[in-house]
Symmetry: D2
């Protein structure tokens, strides 16, 4: 039985509390939040929880094995550092931190202390993404030419981070999993329409090894909520629409074949395949349930963490470099992760 | 009664023939095509048409008032030039030419000879685009912050022009009409996945006067056909989905209001409006019918042409500069139209 | 502060427990269920709850003001009767009972004891249905000609009740609210494809006062989940699609006008109006939250109950008569509610 | 080369003219219409056509092999009879006639004179219906339990026939093909909301051999145009949405299995299968092109006609009996085709 303390029970924290409570081999003993109101609300739902406005009580509590952090991102580094130094395993909401220097420090700190550090990149635990991974690994789509994603909606604007830091972590995390690698270069443009200096629209292009490109369009200024990812492979194409209730993944038996002719004309002959569409049934299951179970499993069974601090750091570094490219007017910049492999 | 000759009856020409024949004040007397098969097919549909493989017969025919050209783009300049020099009005399919030098020459040639020169930018005659123009001009959307369009499908790849020249003319033409101006700068990236050196995916960003931006995503490599344009205004937002049969335009009573507070906190307060959606009924009517009628009206009544050679040249120049930006790795480039205003 | 006891914490009961706990002026003190597993599960979520396998402990508990019943329908009558006789207010899941004799008895019993009796017809508390009611009452749609609903999906088959008892209660309850009356006659056909004698497909036609008809198509045998209701009014038409996330209600400015000509031809002239579509924004809000609040309000403030036992009885009687019509091969049968008005 | 004359060039006739002209082994030599305007319009499109207001000129013309009739249905019988008596093959728009007595007479007349009689049941030539037929014949769906169709829209009201005669011919024709049989009984209800005595809403239930049922909902009073057919088979389910541009057919790997247990409990155990969805690519091709080609092929190669007069008569008889059931308040009535087999 693993005992957890949760810091931050505002927007997302209550979901984590509920999910960890429902895990058979875990219990949440205490929560902390700066807001007395939030603590009272949580107490009314879970009267047995110890509540405090001082997170130090959780970190100092010898009965607590792991700390779950769901605060604004600017507090992540300090809280995680203290928890790791106190010998606790740490689960942090994404993004890991707001600077790659900090995220790299956390990677190293967890490693030195032999503790589990995990980031809440929930999509890595969703049936949709795992199904796509399965199809890719089985070679169903052939080689991936490029992936393109649109993640837009109206607001919620944030006053400390731009739309890239708000929405793109999901896509970078997903692509790193699906493409089994990390981007080498990035090239990005952004625009600030509503608040000066805080981009609300961004277009990012990441280069992955093997010439594979990933485009990401993020926006806080679109009337419709769209979360749509297109994968173009040499054999088939796939569209993942996360806003669809029942048909999230569609596999198109479509493609383009290139026939090279080494004759005098040197023409390319292209053959188009238009074919059936296949919509695979997905497993049921709340990603957050799988995610919280995975964290516990990493602690008890020492399995490798799918959304480790290293993974989280790679996402942070990619975001940071993309924003640097935006400031440089779209210049392509290499991404240096500084991770010991 | 205006008598027309049509050069090129391959893919699009037959539509022009049919529409001009159906106009009450016009007649098509002759057609030319390099392919004998096409001429025979057209004869079986319209036995009264004179057919020839030599387009010169049409240009030299004193009974013909106007020449309609629907050939591959590389032949546009030569044919249009000869027709104008022979004193014929000219209707050309889009894009006007494949170089801005040539398109500028045609603009001037038509002007010097006092002849009507029109480009087949059909969207300028579609009920959807005209409805959006009406809503914009009435101020319903407020000031436009930005427009964004996705025009993608699988193929048809072309071997002489890239996806930018193939698909983006529509959007530039539409934006120039809607925003009542022409872009000043462009910044573009493109990728060649299937054929070397012929881009099949492109992302273009045009800057219009007043800081308004227009993003265009074109692709020959998407499993779904998408033609979707989003206009984000200060009052409302609008989505134009040209692939929808019955609900092409949706007006969202959504928006973001910025309340500036000049207090010590200097914070921006943002208020989101989420509201009703309105789907206006559009007029019926085939754009091509309106377009062909407009050409005749320009000749007979001397009205100003909505898709004049000058409009066509502005599109060509914007395309050309976008492709230059792609070759320069995405550098922003000013667009110099060299038009006497 | 009202104290409640909940009998039945299987499929739907936990939602009621959660919602009543979250109401500021109520508390749940005890729950009962035949299954020890369910009680343990509920205890893990809400450790403060008293649990028992014997529902009598709740009914006999003088500290409990009201009993909430979420058991299979066959137990409804017995449990509600005992609770009312013990002086408790009663909230019952729909349908009220499985026979109109029983439901009428409960109506009278609650009335005699001056207790609140309410049925969980949740749709009467949904923002969508209330919005439609508002539009109808404002006369936006004109006079209603007919309403038609499709409520189909695959399974879940039940072994004690047919698809009519399973799915049609929602529609009858909604129509009675919207049309502000109860049906006078019914005419129904049903078919048993999978289990003998348990209909899995049904087509019901109810006649409301004023010649208004309501068609209901229910099925457990459709590959798609559909919940769609069409209201055809003399001025406008409305479609309510409960499976749509963001566009549940669409108002069509469409209609048919009849112009009578009392001339020799005696012809009817019909004019079609095709017009805009309007999608009103709906209030947020969980229907179950509004429903549970309403139950408490009925107790404390003596307001009239929107989904009273009388309403529930009218639904039961309509269902019962529809099933009688099915057994009679579709014969039209008058519905006799036997309610004192 | 087969020479045709076309009677009636109003709404649908021009499509038939165009399609027959485009067939390589046919020519249209003459057309007739009561309206001089329509004849002039057709002449402007096809200057070589002989036009007349007197249909007798076509029937008496010895150079004409076959007569195509696209007039209002009330004229069908008289025109077809005269054409057959003059030794012409006949193509008639659906429904064949407005009475089964007349349609039976035409069946016999064509047979006696050894002439081809074909009805324009276009759906029998559509790629969608033929694909479904192929799937059914291959056993992919298992045994068909029931089929259900919704064919509704707003107007166009007609003043001589009701909505059943207007819309249901399509479905009956399709079902007869798919189920490879004809309905034995029908049970129908209808309502007249707008014009007295002319039903604008109808619900029909046909019984096919083997206990298979077919439900048809037709309406002129629905704001949306819907053409959707659901086939529920023992193995899979299929939905055919004719209003979808690209995904007309969806095959659901869903179903219900019944496991009978002959034990003391005698319970039915139901197993639900939820599975993938498959959207087959359909052949391109205009149904009218295939239909007109088939008519010519029936004449030249003596192949059996897919939409023969006998097929058309079966549709007429089913419609007639359905309307009789409506007049009898929904009574089930056997359908007696009186066809010699």
């Amino acid at each position: 039985m693993i005992t957890l303390g949760v810091i931050g029970t505002g927007y997302w924290g209550p979901n984590l509390v509920r999910n960890f409570i429902n895990q058979p081999n875990a219990t949440v003993s205490a929560i902390s939040d700066l807001s007395r109101d939030r603590l009272q609300h949580m107490s009314s739902l879970y009267p047995h929880l110890k509540t405090t406005q001082d997170y130090r009580e959780l970190i100092d509590d010898p009965g607590i094995d792991a700390i779950v952090i769901a605060t604004p991102v600017r507090a992540h580094f300090k809280l995680a550092k203290e928890a790791l130094e106190a010998g606790k395993h740490v689960f942090l909401e994404k993004p890991l931190t707001d600077s790659s220097e900090d995220s790299l420090a956390l990677v190293n700190l967890a490693k030195q202390n032999n503790l589990v550090g995990m980031v809440g990149h929930t999509f890595l635990y969703s049936p949709s993404v795992l199904k796509i991974k399965e199809l890719l690994d089985a070679g169903d789509l052939g080689d991936i030419h490029y992936v393109s994603t649109t993640r837009v909606n109206l607001g919620l604007f944030q006053d400390d981070i731009n739309v890239v830091w708000d929405l793109a972590p999901h896509d970078i995390s997903i692509f790193n999993l699906l493409l089994n690698s990390v981007p080498e270069k990035v090239h990005a443009v952004g625009h600030s329409y509503i608040q000066p200096d805080i981009e609300d629209v961004g277009f990012l292009t990441f280069s992955y090894p093997g010439g594979r490109l990933a485009h990401i369009h993020v926006s806080w200024l679109d009337p419709n909520k769209i979360r749509k990812t297109t994968l173009v492979g040499s054999k088939k194409m796939l569209v993942y629409d996360d806003c669809s209730n029942l048909e999230k993944i569609r596999v198109y038996d479509k493609g383009v074949d290139v026939h090279r002719h080494y004759d005098t004309f040197g023409e390319f002959q292209l053959a188009y395949r238009f074919g059936d569409i296949h919509i695979p049934k997905l497993q049921d299951g709340e990603p957050l349930k799988a995610e919280t179970a995975h964290f516990l499993e990493c602690i008890t069974d020492n399995v490798e963490c799918r959304s480790s601090f290293a993974h989280g750091h790679q996402v942070v570094k990619a975001l940071e470099t993309a924003c640097e490219s935006i400031r440089c007017g779209g210049r392509e910049i290499a991404i240096d992760y500084k991770l010991d492999q």
